[in-house]
């Protein structure tokens, strides 16, 4: 309870800092023309803050739901290949089929993520062991990544590679409010529906068979979690590109707040994911002027050691 309150306070603080920092330009504009200062906040910074907060929350909640479903702390949108699948879907839609409306792009992203997760269920099965899940996810990620490169290389536009870089590497720079809405509205609806499945996902800790004997429907729950996760992640990827590791780390921390319960961890995981991504995006703003570092690069650099640490602690547990 107290942990939850602390998380909310940290989240609000991180969002406010993200909106206001760096404060220099805002104050300067406020002195010369207050209306421009307001525009800077509402038109430029607000979409970025909303996207970092919302995408982080989506990664936390879908990561926690996928981990609960697969009964595996290594499952997450990026490791299961759904982020790469979403990127592939969005790239095909954008560069080959000329889809330009953000909503249609989000649908293509969702479709790609759904395909990747469906393929994963087929390859690894629910309740897949760690190595199987990792290998199947790796195969899907690599295939989707290579297919994305191929689609870009063969795209009608010769600049496809160049101008997709910032998009696919995960970035919140220069996104508009309507774009943020396209990513976050479907994601919010799906996340709310995922949250309603917290209790069922907690019972899944006893195994799918026991859950079924207690009146839950594990197979249907599996399809629901996969579809809802795919839509949320797909919509966010189609606007901001793929961002790694937040969906893996946030649920890990979320379960520390839920006494290990995988379903009850959904809500705290979403808060932690939002804080992580807000802070990461604040950090990339420290880059030298004129340079942009995609936030996805930072989350991967910071996330990899944590991932290795989780792997090692799993190995220890297996040996015990």
């Amino acid at each position: 309870m107290r942990g939850g309150l602390a998380l909310v306070i940290i989240l609000v603080l991180a969002a406010v800092l993200h909106l206001l920092l760096p404060i220099g330009p805002v104050l300067e504009l406020h002195r010369t023309d207050p209306r421009v200062a307001t525009l800077l906040i509402t038109e430029l910074r607000l979409p970025r803050t909303l996207l970092a907060l919302g995408y982080g929350a989506v990664l936390g909640i879908t990561g926690a739901a996928l981990q609960a479903l697969f009964a595996n702390p290594l499952a997450s949108p990026d490791i299961t290949g759904s982020s790469s699948g979403a990127a592939l879907g969005a790239v095909v839609g954008s560069y080959w089929l000329g889809v330009s409306s953000p909503l249609a792009l989000a649908a293509w992203g969702g479709g790609g993520a759904l395909l990747a997760l469906g393929l994963l269920l087929l390859l690894a099965g629910r309740r897949a062991t760690g190595p199987i899940l990792l290998l199947a996810g790796l195969a899907i990620s690599l295939t989707a990544g290579a297919a994305t490169s191929l689609v870009l290389a063969l795209a009608p536009s010769p600049f496809a590679f160049y101008d997709s870089f910032e998009w696919l590497m995960g970035s919140f720079v220069d996104r508009s409010l309507p774009q943020a809405a396209v990513a976050l509205l479907p994601a919010a609806v799906c996340s709310a529906l995922l949250l309603r499945r917290s209790r069922a996902l907690d019972v899944m800790a006893l195994g799918g068979d026991v859950a079924a004997s207690l009146g839950y429907r594990p197979r249907r729950l599996g399809v629901e979690v996969v579809v809802l996760s795919a839509i949320s992640v797909g919509a966010c990827v189609s606007v901001c590109g793929a961002i790694g590791f937040v969906g893996l780390i946030a649920p890990f921390a979320g379960r520390l707040m839920s006494a290990g319960h995988p379903g009850r961890a959904l809500l705290p995981s979403s808060g932690i994911g939002a804080v992580l991504l807000l802070l990461a995006d604040l950090a990339v703003r420290l880059a030298p002027a004129g340079r942009t570092i995609p936030v996805g690069v930072l989350t991967t650099v910071v996330g990899t050691p944590l991932f290795v640490w989780i792997l090692l602690s799993m190995r220890q547990r297996l040996a015990a």
Partner: protein, 242 residues
């Protein structure tokens, strides 16, 4: 008198042929049969996990349409697997068996199965035998009317085998029906009724004494009763089993 558990045409394609049986309140039943004979499939069909049945009722109530808030009161099922994936405390695992929280009832179960000393430890760090007791406590905490247990005696030390049989008898005496899949055919004397399965079919439904001397039992397990208990059957063709 109507039966407590009423099962008609329980079927799992390829594993369990259409099976009917009735169980009365207060009965402690052993379910035996060689590996792959369909014991687990029968339990799973009764627990509405898979397969189909034309009738599957506990005290006249259809199990399959009972929602999660109601189902734990009707039946409890414990699989043979003792896996616990997440580092959830023993107390919380037991609590997951209840549709709504009841800490006193959880404490009662912890006491009953001597789990109190590690109530706050993560269940995934316990030994297999300790986990077996935790998972059993999870199943009996809502006081289900029918209890379905798959190999509950495996991984238990001799003390706990006897304690568990005593506990199951007590649960049956309080009006529940308890069905236990077993490997150890020497244990059937402790039960009221013994169901023998082979090849996905319920072959016999007998009191333990009659079952122990039944040729169906010896044939199903490919064993013979010798001077020093059960012995391997030495027939001309060792593969001539049903």
């Amino acid at each position: 008198m109507t039966s407590l558990l009423n099962v008609k045409a329980a079927t799992v394609p390829g594993r369990l042929n259409a099976t009917d049986f009735l169980v009365d309140s207060g009965q402690l039943i052993a379910l035996i049969g060689p590996n792959g004979s369909g014991k687990t499939s029968l339990l799973r069909a009764c627990a509405a996990i898979d397969g189909s049945a034309t009738v599957l009722e506990v005290a006249g109530e259809d199990v399959r349409t009972a929602p999660p808030a109601r189902r734990p009161r009707l039946l409890g099922y414990v699989p043979a697997s003792r896996d616990v994936v997440w580092p959830i405390s023993v107390r919380d695992i037991v609590g997951l068996g209840l549709a709504s929280p009841a800490p006193d009832r959880v404490d009662e179960m912890l006491e009953l199965l001597e789990l109190r000393s590690f109530a706050d430890r993560a269940a995934d760090r316990l030994s297999t035998g300790e986990r077996a007791r935790v998972l059993l406590a999870r199943a009996i905490v809502p006081a289900p009317q029918v209890l379905l247990l798959d190999e509950p005696l495996s991984n238990l030390d001799p003390y706990w085998v006897l304690r568990l049989l005593e506990l199951l008898r007590k649960i049956a005496d309080q009006g529940a029906a308890v069905i236990v899949a077993l490997h150890d055919i020497e244990r059937i004397a402790a039960f009221d009724r013994v169901l023998l399965m082979n090849g996905g079919t319920l072959l016999a439904d007998l009191p333990p004494e009659a079952m122990a001397s039944s040729p169906l039992l010896a044939d199903s397990f490919r064993l013979d009763r010798g001077d020093r208990g059960w012995e391997l059957r030495r027939s001309e063709d060792p593969r001539s089993s049903p």
